[in-house]
Symmetry: C2
Subunit: 231 residues, 2 copies
Amino acid sequence: MPLKIRVILVEPLYQGNVGSVARAMKNLGYSDLVLVDPCKLDGEACALASHARDLLENARIVDSIQDAIEGVNLVVGTTGMTCSKGDEHIRMPVHTSRQLKDKLNGCSGTIAILFGREDNGFTNDELKQCDMLVTIPTSEEYPIMNLSHAVTIVLYELSDVVPGDIPLGEHFDLELLYEHLAEILNDISYPEHKKNKTHLMFKRIFGRAMLTPREIQTLRGVLTRTQRTIR
Amino acid sequence: MPLKIRVILVEPLYQGNVGSVARAMKNLGYSDLVLVDPCKLDGEACALASHARDLLENARIVDSIQDAIEGVNLVVGTTGMTCSKGDEHIRMPVHTSRQLKDKLNGCSGTIAILFGREDNGFTNDELKQCDMLVTIPTSEEYPIMNLSHAVTIVLYELSDVVPGDIPLGEHFDLELLYEHLAEILNDISYPEHKKNKTHLMFKRIFGRAMLTPREIQTLRGVLTRTQRTIR
């Protein structure tokens, strides 16, 4: 299984950006574009897609991130904002685009890379659906990049990943692992006010650990045995 | 002396692209923008520059590449077209954006990076003014990138160059070296029909060799001595 990259734009607001993204994708040799509830796409999107109009026309349009990430192995959210508070697990830790490439070297599977709205990025609930967060190192003076430039940089960085034989577990199975971990927190009467943060920490740790299917299976086996012992 | 990057757009045709370039430059922490005989720049350029309007307004506008590259150490031309004919020195060899970064590691000086017109790139005479040619690896299916995306990729790549103490000679002194080499070709009655190509080959070799001021001086000393001996 090779390494495949899927670009997912979440509710893009400006059709020119969608067209520009399609062009940059084709320039860099990518073709899997999914749009979650996008703006209207007509003349301007086509004009900016230029010779990548086919890619734009073949883009899959869906209603939800859940639909967009179906069947993928890893869900990577891109964010311009990083959080300095160490206890705020939702945005911590954030990897750089280069670190993402280094992590993907040697792996196989389908990687979904999500880009948020031009104005407001992602909601916290959307960020929680990501296995890993990635940011592009930018100037502090003006950190907000144009959407198509951000896509261009991430895809350029990933274009020399050297894929390998390490299979990545499916995001769906990771989700089952996360649910299992939430059950354990209940089983051990973990303090209610800490539950959400600790659960999110689990997601961040196992998300960036790039688990194989076998590892997910073994972890769930440990959790099941733990639950049996507790109960 | 640190490593400084100057972005030079040669006769850009669309003001939206110029604005987008300004934004990407500021995002990535660069500020030295020079425009050679650009299109009209008004509302659209400002809109796309967004919060990099200051950078756009401070861009130096000049009439010629000669003026744009004044005082720089290395002139790098970016090109989407590579030539496979080994005897066509004008476009050979072309380095990738990553190779450019690797070459600049450890160096100091001002590097001018030239980007050509959106439709026709550079003329051959303009390419000859470059010390080194660089291309972005793109898909064969659709290799022509949008101008601002090309600038974004090159600057992103260069943003983690590790500068050092190796000083680069000035482009102006390189030009004097090239003229000196042309004299030598005359002095040795080099076949007229081969002169231009061989001279261009000299430029390509010494251009990509990243000569220090001392090396240029020493080479010119050798050439002067050679001329004296011949004459």
